[in-house]
């Protein structure tokens, strides 16, 4: 066999080997993570001491950061530190993945309080209630958005997207998803991250979302959900 022919065959074999190993690595990677389809049940906040646990919301003033604040003090918070606003589970028990939990129509009462109560109960913030929902069409931007999707790695790290999260407050709509409906995760918006214990189902997820437009433009919502993941039951055909 000519030397040139040998070189060509060796190159082809090497490329085939690399391709095969890459493909198998991809399969392995897929196996390492799995989508969690069900409800991330929301445990209420425990915030009557300095150590805050459970599910809560904080808002960072425009120009601040989720790490350093400044955080807005909510006079209606029942937490010792009023920059924390406690959340309690809604009628669905928490945040559902693989489907939407849309807001009612109309989304507000006559006073401008948000009414959606499936994910969490409406929360009083600066004298008005905000309500959280997920909708196929983002109410603020009008963009089509995907249903929440959260994936657990084999080691229990959670990643995913909650771009459909929307807050109704004071007759206004604010997207509070991560990434934003246009796919960006810049400024104060950070990707969802969290932890998951497969045995107990205990989880934490966090994301931040910078408000784009409206009266709170530039402010950033910091969301922390904590509780137990309940897998969706399979429907019988």
């Amino acid at each position: 066999m000519h030397t040139r022919t040998r070189v060509v065959l060796a190159t082809i074999a090497a490329l085939a080997l690399v391709g095969t190993s890459t493909a198998s690595a991809g399969v392995t990677a897929k196996k390492k993570s799995s989508a969690l389809v069900g409800t991330f049940q929301v445990d209420p906040a425990a915030c009557t001491t300095a150590d805050v646990s459970g599910s809560y919301f904080r808002m960072v003033a425009a120009g601040g950061t989720a790490e350093a604040g400044p955080f807005l003090p909510n006079g209606d918070s029942t937490c010792t530190d009023p920059t924390y606003t406690g959340l309690t589970a809604g009628t669905d028990g928490g945040l559902r993945t693989g489907g939407y939990q849309p807001q009612p129509d109309p989304p507000f009462d006559g006073a401008g309080n948000g009414l959606a109560d499936a994910i969490i109960q409406p929360v009083t913030f600066f004298a008005l209630n905000f309500a959280v929902s997920t909708n196929a069409t983002d109410p603020q931007s009008g963009d089509a958005v995907s249903a929440p999707k959260i994936v657990a790695s084999k080691k229990g790290a959670l990643t995913g997207q909650v771009e459909a999260i929307s807050v109704a407050y004071g007759d206004q709509q604010f997207n509070q998803g991560a990434p934003k409906p246009d796919g960006s995760a810049t400024g104060g918006t950070s990707k969802l991250r969290g932890t998951y214990d497969k045995k107990s189902g205990a989880y934490t997820i966090e994301w931040t979302s910078q408000i784009a437009g409206g009266s709170f433009d530039g402010f950033t919502g910091v969301w922390h959900f904590e509780g137990t993941f309940a897998k969706a039951s399979k429907k019988k055909g």
Binding site: A61, A62, G63, L72, P73, N74, G75, D76, P82, A111, G112, F126, A127, L128, G170, D171, Q172, G213, G214, S215, F216, D217, G218, F219
Partner: protein
């Protein structure tokens, strides 16, 4: 022997063509195709707020807060200091958001009150601008007559070169020039455009990102102060007759709902405002029609045909 053709002054026709093309290109130079529609969006966006009733409502809202602030100073702070024995430092430590509101309100009232007075004073200016043709059409008011003028000028030049009659084309050119001169008068631009300029000047201090951030901060201060007042301060002191404070607490959600959409409109139109502000001053706009229109009419008049040579009887 045939009568020699009339020949217009070609130099003046070339000048008319140049003026026409300049008119047509002006919107491109001033980026009017993007800025003018943005200005139109801004005018549309502010329409619900630029009324006596709406701004009167905002001023009433500020009045409610101001009256409560006065009552806080007269009866609530004495109740905290005399009744609960708290000094200033202790009030700040125990009711931080309430204390911030109490301290910051005079400056907030001065700034927001000033903005509302400015807006109220600009209602006639706004209405004058709103009565102009739609902003999105503005570039075309330059492009269309500009291209017509250039086209007529070129047609007259070509006709002249080919020895054809140019009288009709020159009349058309003169009519176009006079029409362009008349347009600002027809649209009352001589009165409306300066009012628009006044409004743009008046809004300049408020239509910036940093100013909007300040205004957002005012509402955070008031909202946090009201929450602290309602949930912590009032429950801590003996009940008493405090009608202004009660009114503030009772009406605050509505006040917040009143102001929030206007702040949102301001935020959403900062870019549009800056685009309009980057255009040449509004009060110059009528002259952008009058000067080129008059030049074109004069060129058409001056380019009237002359016989190339006089024929003498033999």
């Amino acid at each position: 022997m045939s009568e020699p053709r009339e020949r217009p002054r070609r130099g003046l026709l070339v000048a008319a063509v140049v003026v026409g093309l300049s008119l047509a290109l002006a919107p491109v130079v001033f980026q009017m195709f993007s800025r003018a529609p943005g200005g139109g969006d801004m005018i549309d966006g502010f329409r619900p707020y630029m009324t006596e009733a709406k701004i009167g409502r905002y001023q009433r809202d500020l009045g409610i807060i101001d009256a409560a602030h006065t009552q806080i100073g007269r009866s609530l702070l004495p109740a905290l200091s005399d009744g609960l024995g708290l000094d200033d430092g202790q009030i700040i430590a125990r009711f931080p958001s309430f204390a911030s509101f109490t301290d910051d309100w005079p400056a907030i009232e001065a700034d927001m009150g000033g903005m509302l007075r400015t807006m109220r004073g600009d209602i006639p200016n706004y209405e004058a601008v709103d009565a102009l043709p739609p902003f999105a059409l503005f570039p075309w008011f330059f492009v269309v007559p500009g291209l017509f003028i250039a086209g007529l000028g070129i047609a007259a030049l070509v006709a002249s070169r080919r020895g054809r009659a140019t009288r009709g084309l020159l009349i058309g050119l003169a009519v176009m020039g006079i029409g362009v001169v008349a347009a600002p008068a027809i649209f009352q631009m001589f009165t409306r455009a300066p009012k628009g300029a006044d409004m743009i000047n008046d809004f300049r201090p408020y239509m910036t990102d940093s100013k909007l951030q300040s205004i957002q901060g005012y509402f955070v201060t008031i909202a946090a102060g009201e929450g602290n007042l309602r949930t912590a301060v009032l429950p801590a002191i003996p009940s008493g007759s405090r009608p202004e404070i009660d009114r503030f607490v009772g009406e605050w959600p509505g006040i917040f709902r009143d102001f929030a959409p206007m702040i949102a409109t301001m935020q959403e139109n900062i870019g549009n405002y800056q685009g309009v502000d980057a255009l040449p001053p509004f009060d110059l706009f009528p002259w952008f029609f009058v000067v080129p229109g008059a030049l074109v009419a004069l060129c058409a008049f001056g380019a009237r045909p002359r016989h190339s040579r006089r024929t003498r009887p033999s």
